[in-house]
Symmetry: C2
């Protein structure tokens, strides 16, 4: 398949990694960590994945000021204009608008894939095929395509997309045999529903998880911003190609903090969802990492480290990837054993919702010790 | 109390620390580790304890060649002749003979306290009083005094001393009211008895644990060696005061490897045991360290490290004493959590008898990785 010469990829790498403690933390959020034990950070894996359909010179990373140097180190192939540093965190709508405005100066006919930088994808060939299909589809339709993953549990930390068969368009295309059966119209977007609602979503069979990947052409993107987020559109799409640091700070300090889901996807009528045929996880929790990892016959998932297990089951081990460090575990069942450079965590998997408390206690102690 | 100007202390610091893994290992045996979390190694604590009754210039350390530099670093106050490096490990009888021969050149009227370097002592004032009493006793009697600790469990890793009331000497002294009631004649020495035997020992009420501390004058020591270990006596007590390295290697390579317990104490008739009034543990196992450590209200013993426990009980935590490292434990009951520089261990306390297996597996892996 020939490459689409106008295909661009925007990778959002500004998250602060509050939930994957202690391996991730505000100093080193998840996208900068080799969470999967592959030898590459999540960000590097994301770039690598997309570089198969989008050459690196058309990949743009948006991150926070504090992380820009880290991104440059991890991705030395990228030129400086490809790494955009936001002066303030303003959620995803401004982030995407900023990247789109930079791309617009270089390629007004761009098709843009927007993606998080810290999700896990399995079955890469299918992933690439799905992205190619989405890209081909938006070439023919003024649609916004979002990728949906089949939900497997009523997870309350995910976004849910309600879909329906595209009756009108299907009829329109049916004759031509063009409309594939993995593309659906979007009815609603729901961020982080309560548990009962998530259960109903799953039971109905009408919902996908929102994988956070959007595919749209620049004109469709721009029109969506102009329609639903006119203030952001007005600010960002009028930025010059050599915006000064001061100007950018001014823009961000006056800019609404809103997600692209809330700001656009929930309102736009031209959003379609493509049912992902690949495996996907946002890997936002230790338990989700455990679920997507390879297990040994005792149900242990050992991602990095020289780990020796004895009478140990259903346990996730994530240690710094240093071959001189050894971990011996005896008699654990259903635990997380994880370590960052300065903190070791041993915790039952079912109780990882207490992580925030643990992290607070440790950080508070650090502050007290400093005094 | 005036100091006995002929009192010398021999500290045996040549053990290779095979059981306290991974914190102790042949590279860094227990005597060189801050096991108790006090900020000082066991060896330093032993020197400090004895320096209250025996000035540092009369303390002699016997260690292995491989550890001599470490001892010098830990005890910079000692002069080079005070740190004796054995070229080979030959158990305690040659070790003590070597130190005694060095002391003999400097003080033929020495009284010598021989002690391990890696045991824990609690209630230091009582300890010092017991040692003083033993020293005073051997000034009046041609006895070997060993210190016995009241056994609290049928531990099969200890030596046991069977004692009896000193009927003859008691009668002799009874009139003068001199014989204290904490001194007993020794009937038998038994190293590491089987469990059933250890149980019977405890039940009989006639046994102490052998604390490994011996007090004797140099003439009594020498006579004991000449009587029961004549070859060792002949070799070591004829060493010159400036023995060459080659000579020492020759002596050790031809020398029997035997413990002072087996070689002398089991045979000599003049051995007496002084019932220790202090708390003692050889701290040879994680569980014994747990037993002697201070516990929080949940039964956790946290010896070093910034440790945060949640729903965690009866657990021993020994981490490198680095204030920048944090340990968060959730949902553990009855575990050992211990780390050396390169190895983390999480293991149920009841299963620490598998430590040797763990250590072997880790060391084997290291060897394979090196190839």
């Amino acid at each position: 398949m020939t490459q689409n010469k106008h295909l661009w990829c925007v990778i959002m790498a500004g998250g602060i990694g509050s939930r994957f403690w202690p391996v991730s933390n505000p100093d080193c959020p998840k996208q900068f960590i080799d969470v999967m034990g592959t030898g590459n950070t999540m960000l590097q894996m994301t770039v690598e994945r997309f570089s198969r359909i989008c050459p690196k010179e058309r990949i743009v990373i948006v991150t926070g000021d504090a992380y820009a140097d880290r991104v440059r180190e991890l991705l030395p192939d990228l030129e400086s204009w490809q790494i955009l540093a936001e002066p303030l965190r303003r959620n995803t709508a401004p982030c995407i608008a900023y990247a789109a405005s930079v791309i617009a100066h270089r390629d007004p006919n761009a098709t843009i894939v927007v993606t998080p930088s810290d999700h896990a994808v399995f079955r890469r060939e299918r992933f690439l095929a799905d992205i190619r299909q989405a890209v081909a589809t938006v070439a023919d339709h003024d649609w916004i395509i979002t990728l949906g993953a089949l939900p497997t549990r009523p997870d309350t930390s995910y976004g849910y997309i309600q879909f329906r068969e595209p009756s009108t368009s299907r009829q329109k295309h049916a004759g031509a045999g063009e409309q594939p059966d993995n593309l659906f119209e979007v009815v609603t977007f729901t961020e982080k529903p309560p548990l009962e609602m998530a259960r109903n979503f799953i039971a109905s069979g009408e919902f996908f998880w929102n994988a956070g990947i959007f595919v749209w052409t620049l004109p469709v993107l721009r029109k969506a911003y102009e329609t639903y987020l006119p203030a952001i559109a007005d600010t960002f799409f009028n930025l010059s190609s050599d915006t000064s640091r001061e100007e950018l700070e001014n823009v961000y300090s006056h800019c609404e903090a809103i997600s692209v889901d809330n700001g656009i996807m929930e309102h736009a009528s031209n959003v379609h969802v493509l049912a992902a045929s690949f495996g996907w996880s946002d890997v936002e929790t230790w338990d989700s990492l455990y679920e997507v990892s390879r297990h040994d016959r005792n149900g242990n998932a050992v991602l990095c480290g020289n780990v020796f297990t004895y009478d140990t089951k259903n346990t996730l081990v994530v240690m710094p990837n240093d071959r001189t460090k050894n971990v011996v575990l005896e008699g654990l069942d259903g635990y997380i054993v994880a370590a960052s450079r300065d903190t070791l965590l041993v915790c039952r998997r079912k109780n990882e919702d207490q992580l925030f408390r643990f992290a607070s206690d440790v950080e508070l102690k650090k502050l007290i010790d400093k005094k």
